[in-house]
Symmetry: C2
Subunit: 341 residues, 2 copies
DNA sequence: TTGAAAGCGGTACCAA
DNA sequence: TTGGTACCGCTTTCAA
């Protein structure tokens, strides 16, 4: 147990044992220039005194914090929360801690998050960039902290990235609906500066082109979609007499919101309007209704990006890598479970 | 922009301006024994050099990290993720950062999390304790770090806590079903060492007693419920020929899982078996189906507990407070929205 | 209003 | 194998 009054330090152990702080430090860190006997003794005394390392003091000197930062839009999004959890588990295996910083898709907050990570001297950063501009990422580059982009990337920026194949994602979602006979597919996208939004739309277009079907611009909504306001947007679309028979949504959570909105307007008829989302949350969010999504396997980009980050930390000069992960159509059924097409 | 090679330090600014590090430090921290002119000049130079504070070095000296830790079972649970987000937002208002540590309902991990928080010298801790034993919390007490229990408490332990009225929660869920004529209410609880689980069961019992209804022990399952294995448990219950006409589940996520399990077994008939969960996730998780839950308002214990923690940090000797928040029956309908009874 | 120096609690480096 | 000492970057204290 730690002393009642204050922190037990190396000095305290040194005083008690007669060794110097230096020896204590190296004994506790299992350095091999200390005799086993001394190590054992020192460790015992340290334990009995309830010594707990002060990571700040150590990091200040060594320059290493054994901590990585994960910067993303919103931890309260179930998809991201799950990914973060996986990242944390991975990081622990490498002996690292994780801190999470939210951007809320806001460049200013993102800038703050980057600064905050720098203040805390993290050894590396995983970041799903807001992308409103490239400034923040260039700023991050100038800091010389290893980082990996997750889920989104910049064309003109040579950086490590772990992405999903978003063109394919948009394509298979669209093709799936086209194959089923739907011709008026509403595409509810996010901000168009987001690379994954653009690429999914590209897939949407590709599928239409392949099927020799025209693209109706009124069906493509690249509005600033934030969770929580889908109802208003859907209402305005419906009020504008835009005709659609199916929907593709930028995320699963958005898809759920859209479904609610449709239920408000059409009641049970809403079931006739299929909605496909992205992210594949069904792997860890079993919900009592059927839904379809396009996504990676349940590990998403979490494991891969953590691995890449630690590679980068170890080999700072290694050539930059861009990893694109495969996606597939995921049909979730509460009875049958997941069915991957 | 920060220098390409390394961190800009106070020393660098001192060298450039001719002042000492001391003056620079106090100028940047807006202390009032520095002339406005000097402050302005120093800040300009610091900005132009891209100076970013090294929080570790500062904290090491000052003993304050302006960081709190949130220790809970699993950030990937949507309910907790939402609460954590609210805590973070609150903390930022107080000028604090937040780190999150997961316990996975495992005492050993909880111990590690507490140690990790101590290593990082956090100024305070919000913790939803695993409760398998009191050891970890007593350990935490011995550390002299201000902390607030959230959602769960210990009878024999004088500690700050922000809780929900779980007896009432169990009571109104049960009464609601009894009033509707259900008589065989399956109670799917969590580990019985968890205070909220016990209290909800107490409410369940109370509602039965009040209605002069017997309690059937076979309907009460205090198994080690972790998300993800509800199906097996439900299967075994059904195989045992235990008869039930309705369900109360320890959490909303568990309720969703149980619903899926029932759909597997009874198909559409599952709709005739009402399931009530706890947590009230509907306030921030709009899903396209109706469900009922018992919970607090959407702020949950987040704001209140953060506030209490900062009170405690400010007044270490203040008498301990136990805050019990009200709960109500929440009916979510994708069309009508939330209806609070 | 500013400067000089000590020190927070470790780790790194070199000498013994 | 161990000890002595500088030092990480900042804040605090006291003197000027």
């Amino acid at each position: 147990m730690p002393s009642e009054k204050c922190r037990v330090t190396l000095k305290d152990i040194a005083n008690k044992t007669g060794y110097t702080v230096n020896t204590i430090s190296r004994a506790l860190n299992n350095k091999n220039d200390i005799s086993e006997q001394t190590k054992k003794y020192v460790k015992e005394v340290a334990d009995s005194m309830g010594y707990i390392n002060d990571s700040m003091a150590g990091s200040l000197r060594s320059g290493k914090t054994k901590t990585i930062a994960v910067i993303l839009s919103d931890i309260s999004n179930p998809h991201l929360a799950h990914q973060v959890k996986l990242i944390e588990l991975s990081a622990i295996e490498y002996g690292y801690n994780t801190i999470i910083l939210n951007t809320d898709e806001n460049s200013q907050y993102e800038r703050r998050a980057i600064i905050s990570a720098y203040e805390k001297r993290v050894d590396g950063i995983l970041i799903c960039p807001v992308q409103q501009s490239e400034d923040n990422i260039r700023f991050l580059q100038s800091m010389n902290i290893p980082f990996v982009l997750i889920g989104r990337y910049f064309k003109n920026l040579d950086a490590d990235a772990v992405l999903s194949d978003d063109i394919k994602a948009g394509y298979i979602a669209t093709k799936h609906l086209i194959d089923k006979g739907f011709r008026k597919i509403l595409f509810m996208s996010a901000q168009e500066y987001i690379s994954s939004a653009r690429e999914r739309l590209e897939g949407y277009t590709k599928a239409h082109n392949e099927a020799n079907l025209p693209i109706h611009n009124e069906l493509i909504h690249s509005t600033n979609v934030k969770t929580g306001n889908a109802k208003e947007i859907m209402d305005s679309i419906i009020q504008s007499n835009i005709n659609f028979d199916s929907v593709i949504a930028f995320s699963d959570m958005l898809a759920f919101e859209i479904k609610c909105a449709l239920m408000c307007v059409c009641g049970n008829e809403a079931d006739n309007i299929p909605i496909i989302g992205f992210d594949g949350v069904q792997s860890h969010l079993p919900l009592p209704f059927k839904y379809t999504s396009v996504g990676m396997d349940k590990d998403g980009w979490a494991k891969e990006s953590t691995k890449l980050l630690f590679e980068r930390i170890q080999y700072p000069t290694m050539h930059k890598k861009k990893i694109v992960r495969n996606v597939s159509l995921l049909n979730f059924d509460p009875v049958k479970g997941n069915d991957i097409t």
